[in-house]
Amino acid sequence: MNASASSPKTAGAIWLLAAFAAGIIVSLTTLAVVGRQAAEKNFHPGFTRFHQKIAPDTKYYPTIHEMMAIVRERAAGGKILVVVGGNSILYGVGQPAGHVWTERLQRELGPAYAVVNLAMRGAGVTDCAAVVAEALRTEFPRQIYLANASPTQASFPDGTPSYRFVFWEAIAKGLLIDDPTRTEAIRERYRLRPDTLGGLPEQRLREALDAILSFDDFWNRFTFATCNTIWTRERPVGLDSFAPRKIYTDNEPDYLTFPILDRRPTGWRFDAELGFSRDVSLLAFTLAPSGLWVPNQPLWDALAKSIGGAIPPSLRARTLIILTRNNPYYLDRLTPAEQQRDDLAHTLSVQVWQHAGCESVDCGRGYTIDDYGDRIHLSSTGGEKLAQQIATEVRRISTKLQY
């Protein structure tokens, strides 16, 4: 064996291996460096929001650095940063580009503020935008993070399963606060609900490798600017399927152009939606013999506890949680007792968030049927009302925090 190790043939092979390995190492190192630089600058010109063609819905997963670069560009020049998170309601489903509520919010607040909409469909309070804002806490100390929630909705400390990749990417890159309460909450989450663990170990392995090799940043930019490497049925014709993502525009439909019956359904669709509206506060209270609604305390305690594990204490004062309401088309058809319960749920939820040290506001009271496109999403007119209400809140918080 030793004799063969020193034979000319083996010696030659070792040199070839060295050259081959050097090629691999040079490639990986170069792409890692380029990847790191690729995400330093914003490559989403005129960004409004992560519309469907640049969102996980179509297998595009924005990286933390990619999102941070968008924010950096927008908030440059010492502006007060307003990062918008939450779900499709704050994303602006039903509000076409140019009429998104966050664009209106920006106009309301003026040039001293920079509003960035990083909300995503189905996201929660602790997803994407929350992680980005936290990662930028030192770079942009004058920041307000806002997201929406329904009254008793508990928050996952590391995000909802669909979006937790952003949290774990930020953890792997050392961008987040080391909060022992959150760490414990994450541990408890997966201890109590091992079924939600899913592919998390794989995800964490990926993020650990990505922290070294920056492949997500490099190839996301490549996908966006040069060539989408995954066949997509968005343009299922020949090589067009691999067109770069940048060619797609934000084509979110306008709810106001939808037929009225779509927005105000009747029959079984109405019954189903009415049921969902009823369910918003169904478990939150029980009716006492006295006729008063009594809070279902374990549920509210769970909400309070989840806030403790989800948002580090130092970030709570600049966190604004918006409790959005359902369309009055449905709420008005609930019984008076159910309407009262719905009101109480929103009021109590605001108090719980405030008690935890966050800011919270109840939105949607007094909105009309036309302010909604469906049961929960706002039309452009509803978005304008929301923008006005939130602008007032943002200014108040800015003053309070001496921004």
Binding site: M1, S4, A13, L17, E202, L205, L209, I230, W231, R233
Partner: protein, 399 residues
């Protein structure tokens, strides 16, 4: 997923590094065995590990005994285990159900309560390797004495999930040679092979799969040319997916200096059906030849018997792919094709001229062979009725 995971990437890198860094060659095989156990447990879980451990211990002990009857019992046991885990529900539901619906319903309920939701990982592959082992020992081959060597034969991680199906008399010396002589050239070849395999899978096969999933349900609405393009995509998908897998397995073993049998040799260059099967999933087709076709009598029997043997061997080959009728039909389709080709000159009127034509114009033979194989993939991938409709649509016909 298995190979397409970060876990596997990191695992393969660590195992290769560890294997290389071990100061003595005789430590490499125990190290590799430990790594294989980790791999097996990680992907199969306790429920998937147990059957192979139990069956493996039995097969190893029987092999050591060299008793011909015991070997036959061991082969039967392995086949029963394979059928029990993989085909019991199918046999009970589809065969028994047609004759005795009530009894079938009872047995289905019992089976679903007794059997795991999924068959143990790689059972189709390790069962075939065990059958081969016992068959050869029964015929007088020297069994593997070392439990370590047998363990490595049974759960060698690159081949555990989907082959190539190994032969122990080739694999055992390859293990020995790998541990002793692994060199720089192996690493270069292994990494290139792994890269090629992933390229075939991730870049070609997965993109084709997405396109096929989109277009296949609406095949009838496509232009005729696009329908044929879809068929070509299906044919390209399966070869890139499976040969990609085999490349990764062969490459991962090569990093350790261990040579595995090849599984593919440009199957779409085949000029006739026997040639195709000599190039496609070679480790399976040679297994079918050695352990089904030849024991049935092979080609040393009458024309009719020979045709029947081909038919039976390929029906079983089809069913090996999964407990479903379309797989069985796919196998029968190929069996019928092979039988027809072997007896072409017996066909009245057209037989002899056709035979002469194919002999005179080899490209014609190639075209017919590929047409036959590619249309066969419709049976492989789709339920029988849908495959039939798709095949008709290729010729502008609508069912």
């Amino acid at each position: 997923m298995i190979f397409s995971t970060y876990w596997f990437v990191v695992f393969a890198a660590l195992v290769t590094a560890g294997y290389w860094l071990l100061p003595a060659a005789n430590w490499r095989l125990p190290f590799l065995a430990a790594a294989c156990m980790v791999f097996h447990f990680h992907f199969a879980g306790p429920a998937g590990v147990l059957p192979i451990v139990v069956l493996g211990v039995v097969v190893y002990a029987i092999g050591l005994s060299r008793n011909r009857h015991a070997c036959a019992v061991g082969i039967a046991l392995t086949v029963v285990a394979l059928c029990g885990y993989k085909y019991a529900v199918f046999l009970s539901h589809d065969l028994l159900g047609a004759l005795f619906p009530v009894a079938a319903a009872r047995s289905a309920a019992w089976l679903s309560a007794t059997l795991p939701a999924a068959a143990p990982l790689g059972i189709s592959f390790f069962a075939f390797e065990f059958v081969h082992y016992l068959y050869e020992v029964r015929r007088g081959a020297e069994p593997l004495q070392s439990p370590l060597r047998f363990l490595l034969f049974a759960i060698f991680f690159p081949t555990l999930v989907a082959g190539p199906i190994k032969r122990f008399r080739d694999f055992d010396p390859a293990l020995e040679a790998g541990a002793r002589d692994v060199g720089a050239a192996d690493v270069i070849a292994g990494l290139q092979r792994i890269a090629l395999g992933f390229f075939k899978k991730i870049v070609i096969a997965d993109n084709l799969t997405a396109a096929i999933d989109h277009f296949a349900p609406q095949m009838g609405e496509l232009a005729l040319g696009s329908r044929w393009l879809l068929l070509a995509a299906i044919a390209a998908r399966i070869v890139t997916d499976f040969s990609g897998y085999s490349d990764i397995a062969i490459g991962a073993a090569r990093l350790l200096g261990i040579r595995l049998p090849e599984n593919f040799n440009w199957p779409y260059a085949a000029r006739n059906l026997p040639d195709f099967w000599a190039r496609w999933h070679m480790s399976l087709s040679s297994w079918i030849r050695d352990y089904i076709y030849i024991p049935l009598g092979g080609s040393r029997v009458s024309r009719l018997r020979r045709a029947t043997n081909v038919f039976v061997a390929f029906a079983l080959c089809g069913l090996w792919h999964g407990p479903a009728w379309h797989f069985a039909l796919w196998g029968i389709y190929h069996g019928a094709g092979l039988a027809l080709q072997a007896n072409l000159n017996l066909l009245p009127v057209v037989g002899t001229p056709l035979g002469r034509l194919f002999a005179a114009a080899p490209p014609l033979g190639w075209a017919f062979t590929q047409l036959f194989v590619w249309i066969g993939w419709l049976l492989f991938f789709f339920p029988t009725a849908q495959a039939g409709k798709m095949a008709l649509a290729l010729f502008g016909l609508h069912a």
